[in-house]
Symmetry: C2
Subunit: 136 residues, 2 copies
């Protein structure tokens, strides 16, 4: 997203947030990591919506530079990298949860995240906490 | 955003949400209407981050087609239109609020929405309700 000029100069917290994660692919990559526990480039590339390898590489680089994810060499496979959410990244959980709830209310089609919606509706505080603490 | 293919076919509620409002400018236009009560094209064009008239026109059209806003002729000035958020649009308030909170935690610069952040921290339930019900 380096091609776009920065919105955050306005000092608005919403603009700051959108600079960091306000892109469709960026948020879907965060979804894969936060809700599906994906950690490798290969796993992240197998995304239901289909993502091109250059978009994925660009978004991972952006998320790393924003401190949302960390990249480290895989100890078990030194040719591979593992991507994990930082605390700043896991703190996005409440935003993701509100998006799931909003769509649950306004999208009449059956949802691919029915289980997640169920968890939110059954024990929202506990589920949010487990995502923020990285225990989900 | 008609130029982009639809993510929502995956059935994922996050993809559905991102199709609807997952664009930086789209969310900033919603911010202007929800938090600043803007109603006219001219008001919406005076946005801190600067928005080109073709992007604004495109996003308003998109938001109308998604049922997030309604457009009606201004009774007092028949050459002008008024844009208002629908219930589906006002229901985005909790997402906006979570973005403000996340940025409040992770952006160290002084915020342009300090007053909003203060309202959220003082009476989050009441403030959210007032936005959802259109009484803010």
């Amino acid at each position: 997203m380096t091609e776009k000029r920065s919105l955050r100069d306005s000092g608005c917290p919403i603009a700051f947030g959108l600079d960091t994660f306000g892109d469709r692919w960026t948020l879907l990559v965060i979804r894969e990591m936060l809700l599906k526990g994906k950690k490798t480039y290969g796993e992240l590339q197998r995304i239901e919506e289909g993502i091109s390898t250059n978009i994925l590489a660009d978004r991972l680089k952006h998320l790393e530079s924003e401190g949302i994810i960390e990249k480290e060499q895989d100890a078990e496979n030194r040719r591979s990298y593992l991507y994990t959410l930082t605390q700043k990244g896991r703190d996005l959980a409440p935003i993701i949860i509100e998006i799931v709830l909003w769509s649950g209310k306004h999208d009449s089609r059956p949802s691919a995240l029915r289980e997640v919606l169920h968890k939110i509706k059954t024990d929202r505080a506990g589920f949010t906490e487990s995502l923020i603490k990285g225990r989900a």
